[in-house]
Symmetry: C2
Subunit: 118 residues, 2 copies
Amino acid sequence: MQARTRTSATPLEAAMGAIASPRRRQILRLVWNAERSAGDIAATVDDVSWPAVSQNLRLLKNSGLITERREGTHRYYRADRRALGPLEVVLRQMWTRDLGRLRELAEEEARSRRTRHD
Amino acid sequence: MQARTRTSATPLEAAMGAIASPRRRQILRLVWNAERSAGDIAATVDDVSWPAVSQNLRLLKNSGLITERREGTHRYYRADRRALGPLEVVLRQMWTRDLGRLRELAEEEARSRRTRHD
DNA sequence: GGCTTAATTTAGCAACAGCTTAAATAAGCC
DNA sequence: GGCTTATTTAAGCTGTTGCTAAATTAAGCC
């Protein structure tokens, strides 16, 4: 017997809920292109405790958004893009927008430094 | 002077959060194709109180997902699909899946009634 | 076995989301 | 003005979310 997480949500619904959290989007981006160990991830997301990261990893795994591979004492995670469906486009857009904003900020800063040259 | 809702979220982020709630998806679907009054909406979503609907309408409006038009004592709402960006595809998929599931259930029930004919 | 490292689970807490009921606003009508 | 209808705002309650610190599991090594 295998009980559902809660009131049986469709995969897309689960993915939606998981991705609504900025923290989990951050984590998902880290394992987007490469497999990473839990410790590696927790060390990168350094404004929060390891258990917090672990819990979010579990939620992402239960939503089907990441896969887990165990090897010795390590656990490696990686994004499973298939589970995202049409949400992949959404994520990409959010991320490229963030990048765009970072670039804008950098340019603005460079500009003001040049004019004020301090 | 005009303060942001909170910690200035990108429109897509706001839309994401708004749509993560099943209740708001339900409401959004009601005003998807046609303009509807608040009372009309609240009467349709009848498992919850009017103020609850009103609050969700406000959140949807603040996220830019619906527009409000006042006329006399009435307020009419309607979806603004432009604000959804790539999320429109997600919503459509969720809704057609719901429909698909309803159809499946109906078919299954019909089938079992036929075989067990009770 | 005992020690170390990797990661999770548990228990508890503060903040928040979504709801309820009751009170308030606002427009239209007599 | 007073009454009705449409809708929102306010206050409060409850369950959930995201976190922390402490305890636990599990693998590898001596």
